[in-house]
Subunit: 394 residues, 2 copies
Amino acid sequence: MVSEDPPWPELGQLVSLIVQQRTSTRAELARITGLARSTISQRVEDLLELGVLVESGEGPSSGGRRPTLLALNPAAGVVLAADFGATHARLAMATLSGQPEVERAVEIDIADGAAYLLAWLVDTFHEMLEERDRSAEDVRAVGIGVPGTVDFATGTVLWIMPGWDGTVVPEVLSKHFDVPIIVDNDVNVMCLGEYWSRGLADEKVMFVKVGTGIGCGVVTDGQVHRGANGAAGDIGHIRVMVPHDVLCLCGNSNCLEAVASGAALVRQLAAEGLDVRHAIDVVRMCQAGDARALRLVRVAGQRIGEVLASIVNFYNPSRIILGGALAGLEDNLLAGIRAVVYERALPLATRHLTIETTALGDRSAVLGATILGVHGALTPETISNWVRKRSVLS
Amino acid sequence: MVSEDPPWPELGQLVSLIVQQRTSTRAELARITGLARSTISQRVEDLLELGVLVESGEGPSSGGRRPTLLALNPAAGVVLAADFGATHARLAMATLSGQPEVERAVEIDIADGAAYLLAWLVDTFHEMLEERDRSAEDVRAVGIGVPGTVDFATGTVLWIMPGWDGTVVPEVLSKHFDVPIIVDNDVNVMCLGEYWSRGLADEKVMFVKVGTGIGCGVVTDGQVHRGANGAAGDIGHIRVMVPHDVLCLCGNSNCLEAVASGAALVRQLAAEGLDVRHAIDVVRMCQAGDARALRLVRVAGQRIGEVLASIVNFYNPSRIILGGALAGLEDNLLAGIRAVVYERALPLATRHLTIETTALGDRSAVLGATILGVHGALTPETISNWVRKRSVLS
């Protein structure tokens, strides 16, 4: 039986210390927290009984009996994750250690709006849970990436399009999943996904998405750099040099996005009388060896390279990862970017700089959204809350 | 008498907890460290006897007797700091809380080289110590800012000029002061000085120096952003748009520094047949209302503004502080910068952005170097070392 009225924040702290791998034995928990050994033993018994922790073998002896190691029970719950793009969504259900158990990729239309798509998301999440004999009670947190600007603190969509803007995503979803719901923009979650899934913990990573638009995410020391107003990474509206002025949707002219994004390439090719509508059409033309498309993509690469060279001088990242619909055009886009960055940025800043195409393909965003969820699920506060609920239910 | 063979790392940890203001009572020290109350009492007695800690009044009672508060003894040592510019140096001797006790501003010539200037520095530091009846034994750390590129980890000068390059500054100075010697470039220490002296702890601060050259430092969450290779902040070599190509000393063309720095303005005015040699001559001409100088400074401001607009979009700082020889030209340089940044950067990123001239004048660098020293002096390792020495001496 769970001890009467255990102090929940304290339980959260204990689990949190184990999750952060700062300890895995009762003796160390006592030492770190300063709580009496007998108190720790009682609390750990509670957590074992509740299925939050499991015993996971024995550690090395430090003189006496070999200590029993404690670990988070990976079966103690799941994290749900979603990556919304303009025309696709990728969903995942993952363990608390971030291992995806179920993944789904679905065609959507972001213009269907938040009300419709979030209702669809809830239904699909429920299907995925049922598929593994789980229920909403097993969900510890939800992580979501959306293709637009988000107020991270509240999860409010600031700018995607009408039908989304102003939506407080956690408000909608918490009716169905009463857990932390964390929302961020797509490039931030893509960068997080690369950083954590590929073990880039010692690196300063930039993820540059070149799709219909252009944006970037920055992760250093495990954290997304969001800037003072959550506006960081908006490289699509940096001015570049072009022979003739091009008006951007933002009202300024000659923004990188207006001259080098998928949308800009489509416009340039359409102006030459070609039947292209989406960034993917440009990719297909390049793959078919169309000289006009190849030339435009190469010039776009150079312009993106100019902007990245400036940012390399200023920020000195160790790795730039290219993603988005156009990222596959390695011989043209990536080559153009590399040439300009290595020519224009300072040698000290490029000596160990890697510029590469994503190795995770379409999955970086959903993996990053999963990480958002895992982080949200494993704060001491969240752990305290679900341990409390679990105790009431048991 | 100090207890026999006290565990030095542990003493360092205790002092460090007090310095970080995580606690100021014996009971809290016991709770946080998990050490027995009696052990803590003995260690604290040792530290009081050694003059490392002082008792600083009584705290609120939590039921029983009011606890005695502990604090670092501000008289327990000093920090030395130096800011080297091209033609000046500013030195300081400060308390462990960063309060300057002695400051000196001296004309120098950086071209005299490291051997000469570091020997001069040691002599002058000794004079400053004697002035306050201190000796080299009282010094806990030295912080130094230099006008060039530094390998922060080792304190090696990578690039100032011949006579400096390759100098491992800590190696030279540690013969005289056997304490942590921390060396960084001038813009980083200027940014640190503004951040800490002006209480900007919640801000993301950029310090942009416009003098003979152009560079910037970035401080977020109390830390300088150095980038993957310590090359971050080099905005002087970002390419800008100019009607005619200008070759930069770096070998590229149209770098910001080549068209908008003090040196560039001097060159432009000299090309018009005027007798100008230094950035300060340009300032004097502007102050005298010379239309040619004013026009060139305004154009330089716009070009600096273009680069900063890009960086505001990417990094989203909350404050940009302008310093360096040309920073005083508020009506022209600052106005030009502001106009372009507010026009070109995204509204979300500029809504709460402050762009201002330094309020610390010539002192930001020496205050920042002092902070470098204070941080170096108050690590658990450093504290352990000086407590150990103090014990041997007492």
